[in-house]
């Protein structure tokens, strides 16, 4: 389901992933279960021109598409760290593209940055659930898999209003206590990021 547009300019907007014909190597990192057949077909076409210098990583437990070439199947995002470590030294003209839920792709972005890739070398795109990772302004802890407008913080228990203000460094949306002015008086919880 496409993401709702937001007036908040920090909220990322994701253009479709594209291959860079001038790049040296490409990594395409996909979240198993988040991409439908149509999207997979589009990616297959988009990255065909660089297939000879492309490594596709399929992260998760469901089976990768049968009609692509070789996949590197990874159990989780952390395993991507070893893949990139083996590819060192990474160069200015390498590219990494990731697609999946927002927590997934921003987890990949953090790993890519640790490996030395500049942000301009990393492309992200959304697919699948709109669930969010939420950062608590009060305890600075994270609450994962948030699909609702208000969520109880996994760290401190306060009820947080999930805002669209987004930090690329944290890879998360801001959550602020929703009933600070009148404790206990909270708006109805709605499922807004299915």
């Amino acid at each position: 389901m496409p993401l709702n547009p937001s007036e908040v300019t920090s909220r990322p907007v994701y253009p479709p992933l594209s291959a860079d014909p001038r790049a040296a190597r490409h990594w395409l990192v996909l979240e198993a279960g988040s991409l439908d057949g149509e999207l997979l077909a589009e990616l297959h076409t988009a990255f065909a021109p660089v297939a000879a210098r492309l490594q596709v990583c399929w992260v998760g437990t469901s089976a990768p598409p049968a009609d692509w070439g070789a996949f590197t199947v990874l159990p989780d995002v952390a395993a991507l760290g070893s893949v990139l470590a083996q590819a060192q030294p990474l160069a200015v003209n390498d590219r990494l593209c990731a697609q999946g839920t927002e927590p997934f792709v921003w987890g990949v972005a953090a790993l890519a940055a640790q490996a030395g890739l500049a942000t301009a070398q990393v492309q992200l795109a959304h697919a699948g659930s709109q669930r969010r990772r939420v950062w608590c302004t009060h305890c600075h802890g994270f609450t994962d898999d948030v699909t609702t407008s208000v969520v109880a913080c996994a760290g401190c228990g306060r009820h947080l209003l999930v805002r669209d203000h987004f930090s690329r460094r944290h890879g998360a949306f801001m959550g602020v206590m929703v009933d600070a002015e009148q404790p206990g008086v909270r708006p109805a919880v709605q499922e807004v990021f299915p």
Partner: protein
């Protein structure tokens, strides 16, 4: 120039801080007209201005010692209020130099600075008499200071400080000391670029205000600092109105009534200045916070009337964004008796050198 410091005032708990008559008269009142229009409103920060608060590069007032103590308490509770990304060390030194040079030049009876030479590597000796500190260190060597340069010097300055790295055609908020902010989180925003950290601000994005503001900021020159004012309202004279501690001060917003609003509701004015830093080419963004209660402000007749008119004509979306909606009607009820409807001159100057006495005020209120 002698300052009568009030070292034991508090900006939390019992909120004992009050403004002296002098402090009220030098308050940087932000409204030049009866209607508030959001604008970029930059002007040179060159020592001229309608109040004494504009005279020096970095203003030091009677609350200096108490504000430094309040900052220290906030940092003890939450060290993440001061952060600097690794590439900002040169900008930190630029900031330390600017503050030490300015404070020692503008307030020689309170601060002294001596250097064995003009460049990095020289030994500096800094004396801060109000806080009782003396420090000898090597300019450029962080190991010779008790903490990083930004934290070291901003623990001895009033107001918040953000440092922006200028690159890729924009500004990045890559370092800061933020303990007296009006409701934004340094830990969340550090590393964001200009458009990202202004994300939540309503209204201005469509008009292209931020694009023009960014171009202007990127052209700010060494030796030519600029300034503007920003404002909001705070319940109790509380400096730490961060989103982090919102659970602590949030309930105060619902605690106002006709009897206490004059004393508890404060106009919070930020004197924001902008300085090009010489070696790093970064932009230093000090945000100096001034608080005055309604019952202090109405002692300047022009300000009481003008504040009433501005608040009464504020667009609802702006009032909502500034968090005023809940208590705005009560504030207007409090201010109404002070406005006689007479035309007021354009400009923010107090227009008087003597404040209305407190007993005359209560006559007005009970009339």
């Amino acid at each position: 120039m002698s300052i009568a410091f009030k070292p034991d005032e508090t900006f939390r708990g019992d909120y004992s801080v009050r403004n002296s008559d002098d402090a009220i008269l030098r308050f940087p009142f932000p409204f030049p007209e009866d209607r508030y229009m959001y604008s970029v409103n930059m002007e040179p920060h060159d020592g001229q201005g309608p109040s004494d608060a504009y005279r020096h590069g970095f203003d030091v007032d009677e609350h200096y010692i108490a504000e430094c103590r309040d900052r220290a308490i906030t940092l003890e509770r939450d060290p993440g209020r001061c952060q600097a990304l690794p590439h900002m060390m040169l900008a930190q030194w630029d900031t330390l130099e600017l503050l030490m040079d300015r404070l020692s030049t503008d307030y020689p009876e309170h601060f002294s600075l001596s250097k064995t030479g003009p460049d990095m590597g020289a030994t500096w000796t800094w004396t801060n008499r109000p806080l009782g500190l003396e420090q000898t260190f090597v300019f450029g060597d962080a190991a010779t200071l008790p903490c990083e340069p930004l934290e070291y010097i901003t623990r001895q300055a009033q107001g918040d400080f953000a440092i922006c790295d200028q690159r890729e055609g924009t500004l990045f908020l890559d370092a800061g000391m933020v303990t007296s902010q009006a409701d934004w989180s340094l830990d969340f925003n550090v590393g964001m670029n200009f458009m990202e950290w202004h994300g939540p601000v309503p209204l201005a994005h469509q008009a292209g205000v931020f694009e023009r503001a960014l171009k202007y900021l990127m052209m700010i020159r060494l030796g030519q600092p600029v300034r503007r004012l920003n404002w909001t309202m705070t319940v109790n004279p509380r400096l730490d109105t961060s989103p982090e501690t919102f659970p602590e001060w949030g309930p105060d917003r619902a605690s106002l009534n006709a009897d206490n609003i004059g004393r508890k509701l404060h106009l919070r004015v930020e004197l924001q200045t902008l300085w090009r830093l010489p070696r790093s080419n970064a932009l230093l963004f000090p945000i100096r916070c001034y608080l005055a209660s309604l019952d202090e402000l109405v002692r300047v007749p022009k300000w009481g009337k003008r504040l009433y008119r501005v608040l009464g004509s504020l667009p609802p979306q702006l009032a909502e964004y500034k968090g005023l909606t809940r208590f705005l009607p009560t504030a207007l009820d409090y201010l109404a008796p002070f406005d006689d409807g007479e035309p007021l001159p354009v400009g923010t100057a107090a227009g008087t050198e003597r404040l209305t006495e407190m007993d005359r005020l209560s006559d007005r209120l009970s009339a």
